[in-house]
């Protein structure tokens, strides 16, 4: 059955479950509670909710102040705005000042489809990863999102979490969702090609492995939800066992997962690394799925690139 629950809703559910007991959990929005699926939190926990209006710099600065005073703020705003409009607040007030702010980037990548480049966040992984002391997570499905938020609730460091707008097909099941903090999840192991993906690209990566299997090509698939700190050991192990490495991300071709994986692979076990990503150009107009199909960011597209890389 097709999943109808977006990852952002799971974040709200987990925070609501904990907010009953933990009064230090605060949720902040910048006129974004609806699009962040956080309206139920605001309704159920008005004293733990902060609306700042359309002011992302204020959003992140206030969150940092709350954290400094011992609160556990979750600041949610479209990924494009929270990472670039308030980039300096993320850098100075969160990471540099070492405050426990969890930055939730909603509707990441090309989730907003036809709304254009202003609303797309194809730079957020690069931007946030370049900040010392900032962690970057892109959960792949609703089950993993739950585990990730549960884990983040237990620590006291800042982090950026990017989710998409739409429900995504499950990668895991409720019963079977292996999760270790800051360790990639190995979805399958093969000896020809290693496919390393993050966020919404993990499901197509897994689909690609199935297509490749039918062609007699065996693939490793890594769910690298922890883009920073990157699970270097998992990258090296997967690359060592393969003839080529494919990275897949809903991001600019520069400075994201592909760049980071290429650095690790070239240093440790040189292999051909093919990066499948959005173009360094305004993205074609369309729904997320249409955009992914156009740029080959689907099971078929990834499988095709992987097969080519082995030739």
């Amino acid at each position: 059955m097709k999943n109808s629950i977006p990852n952002r809703k799971v974040i709200c559910d987990v925070l609501m479950e904990h907010a009953k007991e933990d009064k230090e959990i605060m949720v902040l929005c910048s006129d974004s509670r609806g699009s962040a699926s956080l309206a139920p939190f605001f309704e159920a926990f008005p004293d733990q909710s902060v609306e700042v209006g359309i002011a992302e710099q204020d959003l992140v600065g206030i969150a940092a102040g709350l954290a400094k005073a011992g609160m556990k703020p979750y600041a949610a705003s479209p990924a494009s705005f929270i990472t670039t409009r308030s980039y300096e607040q993320c850098k100075v007030d969160c990471a540099y000042s070492d405050t426990n702010v969890k930055l939730i980037g909603i509707s990441g990548g090309v989730s907003y489809g036809a709304l254009g480049m202003s609303h797309h966040s194809a730079q957020d992984i690069a931007a946030m990863s370049a900040i010392p002391n900032m962690r970057v997570y892109l959960p792949s499905d609703r089950h993993q999102t739950r585990y990730l938020i549960e884990a983040l609730l237990k620590d006291n460091k800042c982090a950026y979490i990017r989710t998409g707008r739409n429900p995504v097909e499950d990668v895991y099941t409720e019963e079977n969702c292996p999760f270790e903090m800051d360790r990639a999840t190995v979805l399958c192991e093969g000896s020809d090609v290693a496919i390393i993906a993050c966020g919404e690209m993990v499901r197509p990566a897994l689909d690609a492995a199935q297509i490749l299997k039918e062609q007699g090509i065996s693939a490793t698939v890594l769910d690298m939800y922890c883009v920073k700190p990157l699970d270097r050991a998992a990258v090296i192990k997967a690359a060592e066992n393969a003839k080529a490495v494919i990275t897949v991300e809903e991001h600019s071709p520069f400075g994201g997962l592909g760049s980071m994986v290429a650095q690790v692979v070239s240093e440790n076990c040189p292999r051909k690394v093919i990066n499948i990503a959005l173009p360094d150009a305004p993205v074609v107009t369309g729904t997320s799925q249409e955009v992914f199909e156009y740029y080959g960011m689907t099971g078929e597209g990834i499988a095709q690139k992987a097969a080519q890389a082995l030739k």
């Binding site: 605060m26 209006g53 710099q57 204020d58 600065g61 102040g65 709350l66 400094k68 005073a69 011992g70």
Partner: protein, 275 residues
């Protein structure tokens, strides 16, 4: 109070010694903000080196982070840091004493440097205190040129919206920034009317270097309910010596040896007159 007035001049001397030792510093704003810092640290705020993690402490945020040398002088006198150590290592290789606030040092809550960050953070701190029912007061010092950063006005809006009467923003209104008069660079006046229009209680000090006036404003702010207070401290950039007073060129400058001696003579004379 008389002793604090003299102390402000003593700490100006310490500030200039730090700048001379480190070979750099934002001397003009260090001098203008000194009485505000002295009143906060030696009369108003519930802070001490023994309670850096005390949840009941008051919070201070130096949004105009470049006035760090004055802040070092105050933190040293208050017992958070050692003046000799700061002078020996300020701005040197691998030193913890950099040119902007860094919260790995005791007594410093948040890092700053880039302008327009402090007020939103202070709003968050004051909001947390309100949520918890704490008695903490939150003080944030901004520059005046700094107010061209739009994030400050986001902070003014939210501070008023949340009714944060435990929040006090002090504007070091010395009318000068790097390129000249604030009114020529990006005019701020009527600043009082602007901040009032954002819903704040605003107290404009005739002399922002007068400790009596400053302290009275902070006392008055505590009585205002339901909205934050902004104290516009009309100060003199480079306050303390005619060598540097009201001269934009002294925003960031190291005095020559001759200038240093003249400045110290002026500071000592003022201190003695107040002692």
């Amino acid at each position: 109070m008389e002793n604090l007035k003299a102390l402000a001049y003593e700490l100006r001397k310490d500030t200039i010694d730090i700048i001379m030792a480190g070979g750099g510093g934002h001397i003009g704003g260090d001098m203008s903000v000194m009485e505000v810092l002295v009143d906060l640290y030696f009369r108003q705020m519930n802070v001490s080196p023994q309670q850096t993690e005390d949840p009941d402490r008051d919070y201070f945020i130096m949004s105009k982070g470049h006035s760090m040398e004055a802040y070092y002088a105050v933190l040293c006198r208050k017992g958070f840091l050692e003046l000799d150590d700061v002078k020996a290592r300020f701005s040197r290789f691998n030193s913890p004493y950099i040119g902007h606030p860094h919260n790995t040092l005791p007594g410093i809550e948040m890092n700053s440097g880039s302008l327009g960050h402090g007020l939103p953070v202070a709003v968050g701190l004051a909001l947390a205190a309100k949520k918890r029912g704490g008695a903490n007061r939150v003080y944030v010092v901004t520059g005046d040129g700094e107010l061209a950063e739009g994030s400050n006005w986001e902070g003014f809006m939210s501070g008023a919206m949340f009714g944060l009467d435990n929040l006090c923003c002090i504007i070091d209104r010395n009318y000068l920034q790097i390129s000249g008069s604030t009114e020529d660079v990006m005019a701020l006046d009527d600043l009082k009317a602007k901040v009032e229009a954002f819903g704040w209680n605003v107290i404009s000090l005739k002399d922002g270097n007068d400790l009596d006036e400053i302290d009275a404003a902070f006392e008055s702010a505590k009585t205002v309910k339901g909205r934050p207070t902004c104290v516009i401290a009309n100060t003199v950039k480079g306050k303390g010596s005619p060598v540097m007073e009201n001269k934009a060129g002294w925003h960031h400058k190291v005095p020559t040896r001759e200038q240093y001696e003249e400045i110290v003579r002026d500071l000592n004379a003022k201190k003695e007159a107040l002692s």
